[in-house]
Subunit: 292 residues, 2 copies
């Protein structure tokens, strides 16, 4: 998990330097009173990244009875480790990306969860296709434990905003509660290999898209649209995202949890793009007449 954090942050800093920015990630180590802790790394006001947060954590100890009952394992002893990141670029033609990979133990049960999804402000079929292609490859290389089609569909269902009738972005993969039976060392190894490959694939999935779009000129129109769409990101994370609401409700570190929120956001009243515009073309991709 720490390797993923180091690699992603290193590559993003190199990209910032390429564009003449000297911004780098600032590290914040924190400890959890009940056991464990983590490191939050944040870069703000870069040339490419307006705000980027990459979090690792490794926490363990005893769960409250109420909390333990909500989890699929047994007993109150737990161990959890994970890496999560959200990158909010400045250029509206560069999409936002989110990725998260986690491993949990509770009693005899061990399980994995995570995924990665792409949230563009303007739709480019080739970006979606590249992003999905990388994740499909990772899943196919780990087909004993991963299934691209079902993870893709789960992503579509998870990142849905019912009050908007929209999905958050153009998807990716999402998996939850993928179990490793205790003692089944082969399956545990296969899952660990899949999640490690996932961590390593984040840059492959995202950087080529950044490089393709980062020099596209933009102005007030694109910026206004980006800020409005970022509002949907906030709405999803605060209204529906299980990690966010669960984390806040169980006394997680607020600043690390809400690192995912965009740096600047706008809410207008009942704004919708003109038919036929590039902004409307994005909505055509995201709207769902019924829940996925």
């Amino acid at each position: 998990m720490r390797n993923v954090q180091a690699n992603v942050c290193g590559a993003l800093e190199a990209l910032e330097r390429e564009l003449g920015s000297d911004r780098s990630f600032v590290s914040d180590a924190w400890t959890r009173p009940g056991g464990g802790g983590g490191v939050s790394r944040v870069l703000q006001d870069g040339a490419i990244l307006e705000k980027a947060g990459v979090n690792v954590s490794e926490v363990y100890g005893e769960l409250s009875q109420a909390f333990a009952a909500k989890l699929p394992g047994t007993g109150r002893q737990f161990y959890a480790t994970g890496v999560s990141l959200v990158l909010h670029p400045r250029n509206p033609y560069v999409p936002t990306v989110h990725a998260n990979f986690r491993y949990l133990e509770q009693g005899e049960r061990r399980w994995f969860g995570g995924g990665s999804d792409l949230t563009p402000y303007y739709f480019f079929a080739e970006d979606k296709s590249h992003f999905h292609g990388v994740w499909r490859d990772v899943c196919e290389r780990h087909h004993e434990v991963a299934n691209y089609a079902s993870f893709r569909d789960a992503c579509e269902r998870y990142f849905y905003l019912p009050h908007r009738g929209e999905v958050r972005g153009v998807g990716g993969i999402f998996f939850d509660d993928v179990e490793a039976v205790h003692g089944d060392v082969d399956r545990e190894d296969a899952l660990l290999a899949f999640v490690s490959a996932g961590g390593a694939a984040i840059l492959d999935a995202y950087l080529p898209i950044v490089r393709r779009r980062m020099h596209t000129p933009w102005g007030d129109r694109e910026r206004n649209w980006q800020l409005l769409r970022r509002g949907r990101y906030v709405e999803f994370n605060l209204l529906y995202d299980r990690g966010t609401t669960f984390g806040l409700q169980t006394g997680g570190r607020t600043e690390s949890i809400l690192m995912s929120l965009p740096p600047l956001v706008r809410w207008g009243y009942d704004e919708s793009p003109s038919p036929g515009s590039p902004e409307a073309a994005l909505l055509d991709q995201l709207r769902r007449a019924e829940p996925p």
Copy 2:
């Protein structure tokens, strides 16, 4: 309710004209498929008000079984009417205000709810004192049904953000489920009189504060702080506000419900004001070591 809307919007438009702005409220009438509807009025980009929303609604019909079971009345027939407003000023020295008054019938049961609270970006004791004074007076004039001290405490408890250890603002009044027993005409009249007085008091509670602060000069520092604090407003409304989450979950009109969100919002990472600064003085007022 429509009178309150007309009076508030009229007074705010007059104030905008005083400052040389020609912005006025735009009206949006909507109907509810199951019965009733409402009118949303919004003013954006004014000289004083960056975004103001004033909503009235009158809806009735049949509740779903699940929804009906969550409400305190009996049966599935309902009637509800209310006015709600949120005013987000541009000048960071002018506080944001929220007010909401509603009346509901379900079967034989009738009840009232509502309140008003003030969210400053900079703390002025005289503003808090004026605001609370107006609401205390309204409650005292309607003491048969209203109790300032208990409504003030309920406001403090309601507008609390546990993940921040802060209350949203400097309070006001909040009351929920104040019942009018069917057939007790005196009590029903008294409640109606209180809620009408509440609607009429919004301008008395808020406008003197606006006039006192609207000419205070401000710059980037104050603006950045205002945008950061607006983030707390969004967090409260999307994570905790019952009206917002309930409305969205039960298929209310999204744009009218989310009219309350600020026009422009910023999320930084782990920002806190320097000790002794005016920004820190606000936090001193809002922080609570334990839930109120």
